[in-house]
Amino acid sequence: MTVLAHRFREPSVIPGFGITLGVTLAALGLVVLIPLSALFLKAAGLGFSGFIATAFDSRAMAAYGLSFGAALVAALVNLFFGTLVAWVLVRYRFAGKRLLDALIDLPFALPTAVAGIALTTLFAPNGAFGAFLEPLGIKVAFTRLGVILAMIFIGLPFVVRSVQPVLEDLESEVEEAAASLGASRLQTLWLVVLPSLLPALISGFALAFVRAVGEYGSIIFIAGNMPGQTEIAPLLIIIKLEQYNYAGATAIASVMLIISFVLLFVINRLQHWRQSRMEGR
């Protein structure tokens, strides 16, 4: 046992490796890996043509389009405003800053159903914001715009929280050097600050995007849920389940999972590659 263990780990005087790793692997297997593999085995059991037919019919395609399209728009909005918020929180001093900083994590802590009914009430035609937007011809609740809005809420903390620490650690000398060498403030921001924020921006964007694609609770109240129009992919999974169409639910879930995993993997590699290139320089 010990001989075997030493082959794949470095020797250490600290005890408890076997038991803690054992518990970790057992829990991971039972809670996460076996259930997830059940999904993929079930999907594999559908056969290739059966899978394609259920996973890519017109209703499912519309749902993917909405889920991924709206998530992309929401993540882009959060990329821009999240960076701005992080910048303001790190660089400027103003009253209530600490309170604001604490409030950023609200979408992590507030249950999604609560966020959903609150946003719907605000943006419904007779709501506080809805009543103001309705005369302008802007309909938010029960349209695609509502879906995007809920996704912006749910993804808000990711970009802020990934950019904030990098911005705090940024050496002031670099910006001062750029300025003293004659760069304008905008040039400094674009050519010096932005490139060093890039990895944090990418990972914050990706996390917000993946979270928004899978989000369910905060969206279903505001979306209106019209098939082909405002029906998100997670809702379609639930509808299939309620019809006892397990195969259909599994096929759609697999497509969503594979796209999300591939995306996270690509971004992880990208970060890795960037990091090794930076260190090599």
Binding site: F17, L21, V31, L84, A118, F129, V210, V213, Y216, G217
Partner: protein, 281 residues
């Protein structure tokens, strides 16, 4: 504090950026939060407390507390084991293990529920076996707990691993050399060092466990008074146009979220102060 002009924008730009950030956060975070409380109290305190005192509401509150009371300790034990194995030892496949632990973060809540239906549903792997022996996991409390454990699986581990990695293992090694046992080492050195991260992880885990909607919605079966958690109860009340009652239950969840954020901020300030004092020494 001296201000360096090369690192600062003109007053007008600064003010504008702060205003944009404030309106963005006010629109997406402040307004929904205020709405929850305003709607709940719209018809006065009597209606509010009557809505909370209903038998179904009380049953939902009880079920949510039970679920969190089981799911959080499971993930606490798992998180401690995983972070001990990962932070205190060097072994092959470590980064793969960390990626697998984070997996539930990128899985849609609906899919997290679906995998348990595929395992334990009547058409699922273990469904026929469970039905034969009269064990009911799905559409019952055990299924709700399982789905909650899956969704909150990474929370404690994710907070602890980076913290314990940063603290290294010199202190533990020294204690062991001086004759401490593994347990003594854990209780007197590792645990006190990691306590803030641990508490924050448990808090976030608890907030998510009590607020989870999508995954629980799939496995619960929505039986009033029996398998309805608080977020599910909010949905049912809202869909019955019983808005005051829906928002009344929602205020409890929102208060939990606010409490989580306050505790988190207090810990961060405490932790920062502790870090500063050790650095000064």
């Amino acid at each position: 504090m001296t201000r360096n002009s090369s690192r600062n924008e003109p007053l007008l730009v600064r003010g504008l950026l702060i205003c944009v950030a404030l309106s963005y956060l006010g629109l997406f975070l402040g307004a929904p939060l205020v709405t929850v409380f305003a709607e709940a109290w719209a018809k006065g305190p009597e209606t509010y407390f009557k809505a909370l005192g209903q038998a179904d509401s009380l049953a939902a509150i009880r079920l949510t507390l039970i679920t969190a009371a089981i799911a959080v300790p499971i993930n606490l034990v798992f998180g401690l084991c995983a972070s001990w194995a990962i932070a205190k030892f060097e072994f092959k496949g470590k980064s793969l293990l960390m990626t697998l632990i984070d997996l539930p973060f990128s899985v849609s809540p609906v899919i997290s529920g679906l995998v348990f239906v595929l395992l334990f549903g009547l058409q699922g792997w273990f469904g026929p076996f469970l039905a034969e022996h009269g064990i009911k996991l799905l559409f019952a409390v055990p299924g709700i707990v399982l789905a909650t454990v899956f969704v909150t699986f990474p929370f404690v581990a994710r907070e602890l691993i980076p913290l314990m990695q940063e603290q290294g293992r010199e202190e533990e090694e020294a204690a062991l050399m001086l004759g401490a046992s593994g347990w003594q080492c854990f209780w007197h050195i590792t645990l006190p060092n990691a306590k803030w991260g641990l508490m924050y992880g448990v808090l976030l885990c608890n907030a998510r466990a009590m607020g989870e909607f999508g995954a629980v919605s799939v496995v619960s079966g929505h039986i009033r008074g029996l398998t309805n958690t608080m977020p599910l109860h909010v949905e049912i009340l809202y869909n019955e146009y019983n808005f005051v009652a829906a928002f009344a239950v929602a205020t409890l969840l929102a208060a939990l979220a606010l409490l989580t954020l306050v505790a988190k901020s207090l810990m961060e300030w405490r932790f920062a102060a502790e870090l500063n004092s050790t650095r000064r020494l």
